[in-house]
């Protein structure tokens, strides 16, 4: 660990990294302390900046995970236990047992540190209202609809009640607080948004309930699901950008034709239904160690730019978070991302 701190500190140009190395050498380092969290955050900020990204955050170093982390800030919700996500990977799932509300704003200290230490533009990732609701067992709002006979109607009505309460009573005040602290870009992480076709309209309604009237650039991140469900509703979302996982489902051969770039079919749909949005079609697969070549990244981006009709409509990004990769692999992937974007940009002069 000490060697890693020294090597990465030097490689990333982390200011005063030797202080951390000395602390670690001294031993008796508490596993969790604000000072250590600050160091982790700083290393991650410099990680992305030194790789060459234009918009950064701190890799959510302080957060256990995108769902569980914020539960302590939300009233009416209790963790019940672990459930499977895939393979042998699990998350701690909560039940909504009362009306939800915001106990106190979250991500504030984390954001202030990033705001004060980042040298590039900052985008804050925030778990979106639909996902927060969808990933929880919905006990309270279901009980309120107990007398509805049709079970699927009961489920939908209870879900709607929960999602909109999460949007209005939890997310909106939290987002307002982040904007007051200076947040200029916020991304709603909404992996659950396209789980159910009949609920996508509700997801968009919830996003709009959060953001309406707030002066900030908003984006949505969705992944590992059926993107066809997004349309046409996504066109009505009051956001500037939609970021998607695509590399995971794409081929590995070079080429800017449709056969080579099967993972990016969704871009055609954006062009047809929501051409006003900027798209971030993931060009880096975050679940494999194989590092994409810059040329592959370039071709993926060029294909998308051709489909959308303009390079300005496309943002180069990862499929999702890099937490399952080692730092060595993750950094190599980010270098490839940046170089690939540069090569793609060159094609446009």
């Amino acid at each position: 660990m000490i060697e890693a701190a020294a090597n990465w500190g030097k490689r990333l140009g982390v200011e005063n990294y030797q202080e951390l190395v000395d602390i670690l050498r001294g031993g008796n380092v508490p596993e969790k302390s604000p000072a250590m969290e600050n160091w982790a955050s700083l290393y991650a900020i410099r990680f992305f900046e030194s790789a060459g990204l234009d918009v950064v955050y701190d890799g959510e170093q302080r957060r256990v995970e995108m769902y569980e982390h914020l539960l302590e800030f939300v009233s009416g919700i209790t963790v019940l236990g672990i459930v499977k996500v895939w393979g042998n990977n699990y998350y701690r799932k909560a039940a909504v047992h009362g009306q939800v509300g915001l106990i106190k704003p979250y991500h504030s200290e984390e954001f202030v540190f990033v705001r004060d230490n980042a040298r590039k533009e900052v985008k804050v990732p925030v778990t979106g209202p639909y996902t927060l609701a969808d990933w929880s067992y919905n006990e309270y709002y279901t009980k309120r609809r107990q007398e509805v006979e049709d079970p699927s109607v009961k489920r939908l009505e209870a879900k709607r009640d929960l999602v909109l309460d999460v949007a209005k009573k939890v997310l909106r005040p939290n987002v307002k607080h982040l904007v007051e602290l200076g947040a200029k870009r916020i991304q709603f992480d909404e992996p659950a948004a396209t789980s159910r076709k009949e609920e996508v309209e509700l997801f968009v309604e919830a996003i709009n309930a959060v953001v309406t009237g707030i002066d900030c650039e908003f984006s949505i991140h969705n992944c590992y699901s059926n993107y066809e469900h997004l349309f046409p509703y996504i066109a009505d979302a009051k956001v500037k950008e939609v970021v998607l996982e695509c590399a995971n489902r794409d081929g590995k051969s070079l080429g800017t034709d449709s056969e080579s770039r099967g993972g990016y079919k969704v871009v055609n749909m954006f062009r047809e239904y929501a051409g006003h949005l900027r798209i971030g079609p993931g060009v880096i697969d975050v679940h494999v160690d194989e590092v994409e070549s810059p040329e592959l990244v370039r071709d993926r981006l060029l294909y998308c730019a051709q489909k959308m009709g303009s390079p300005e409509s496309i943002v180069a990004c990862n499929d999702c978070g890099l937490r399952t990769r080692s730092w060595d692999v993750a950094y190599s992937k980010e270098l490839s991302l940046v170089e690939g974007a540069r090569l793609a940009g060159q094609e446009y002069g």
Partner: protein
């Protein structure tokens, strides 16, 4: 009227087993040690069912990452691709890509199932129905759903014949794709043919368990399939939508919602079953969870199994 109860899929792994799998993946323990834990925990799941009055037991399917994985790993002609959502859940699987003709490459379910622990008891195995299997794959070889389904059915038939020899007495075909939307009319005949091929020459009891959608999407065709029991997810199906059909087979009632933590009340379940009996008049009824209990933490799955057991007791007392 015949009344029984059973589980319908993958049981949640207890934390000790989750930890041991991680240890194995990180090279901290050998396969033989992991196998001991799989076997011990499977024995516990079997005992849990017997203690709760379950009349046809499964081994818990603790080795199964998902319904498809054993086939994706072992059937020749398939390779696994990127992660994709499992229907409308917050769970994911690696999508199998069909790259060549599907051929068996050795017994699959014999290794995945603790059939020796189930010997001497009425027991069941859970497999994907051919239509569901075809819809969750990406077919780059056959370019024909029919051919894909029929070849997969043949593999299933071989596997089920083998398990029948090893003492398994019932098969459940898990069939969410059949009810999440209405299958295309053109597919209905293929579904029938694939089901017939899957169970050809078997003496096992055959259950088609539908979930994640309303069974009305498959009526009346479901009632013409060569099955002994039709499973219905009553967290998605309104009884009023199906009461005009003739149910001349066992209705396997998914009255325990595996996707919600809210605990059902046994007397409300019993009242519902009385209403169902009155409306549908099936010759027999089974009580079960609507789908795999693995959508719940282990301790809540245990509680739901107890509720299933109490509901069964309520109804048996009434019957007697």
């Amino acid at each position: 009227m015949n009344l029984r109860a059973f589980l319908t899929g993958i049981h949640p792994r207890p934390e000790i087993l989750i930890k041991k799998i991680r240890d194995y993946e990180r090279g901290r323990i050998e396969k033989e040690e992991l196998e001991v834990f799989f076997r011990t925990e499977s024995e516990k799941v079997i005992q849990l069912q017997l203690q709760n009055g379950i009349t046809s037991v499964i081994d818990g399917m603790l080795k199964w990452d998902n319904l498809i994985a054993p086939f994706a790993h072992s059937v020749s002609g398939l390779r696994e691709d990127g992660l994709i959502r499992w229907f409308d859940n917050n769970t994911f699987y690696r999508k199998p890509i069909v790259t060549d003709e599907l051929l068996p490459s050795g017994p699959i379910l014999e290794d995945m199932t603790y059939h020796e622990l189930l010997k001497g008891k009425p027991s069941r195995v859970v497999v994907p129905d051919p239509y569901t299997f075809a819809t969750v794959c990406e077919d780059r070889f056959y370019r024909s759903r029919e051919k894909l389904m029929m070849d997969f059915s043949q593999i299933l038939n071989g596997e089920l014949k083998n398990l029948e020899k090893l003492g398994i007495s019932e098969v459940q075909f898990s069939a969410p794709s059949l009810v999440m939307a209405e299958p295309a009319k053109a597919d209905l005949e293929i579904i029938q043919n694939a089901m017939e091929q899957s169970i050809a020459s078997l003496r096992m009891k055959v259950c088609l368990q539908t979930f994640f959608g309303s069974v009305r999407n498959l009526l009346p065709e479901a009632l013409e399939l060569p099955i002994d029991s039709l499973g219905i997810d009553f967290s998605e199906t309104d009884l009023r939508d199906i009461q005009d059909y003739d149910f001349d087979l066992e209705v396997s009632c998914g009255v325990i919602n595996s996707r919600q933590s809210l605990m059902e009340e046994p007397d409300r379940i019993a009242a519902f079953i009385r209403r169902l009996r009155e409306k549908l008049s099936p010759p027999s009824i089974a009580l079960c969870p609507n789908c795999d209990l693995e959508f719940l933490p282990y301790h809540l799955a245990e509680k739901k199994l107890q509720i299933l057991s109490e509901s069964l007791r309520h109804l048996r007392v009434e019957r007697n």
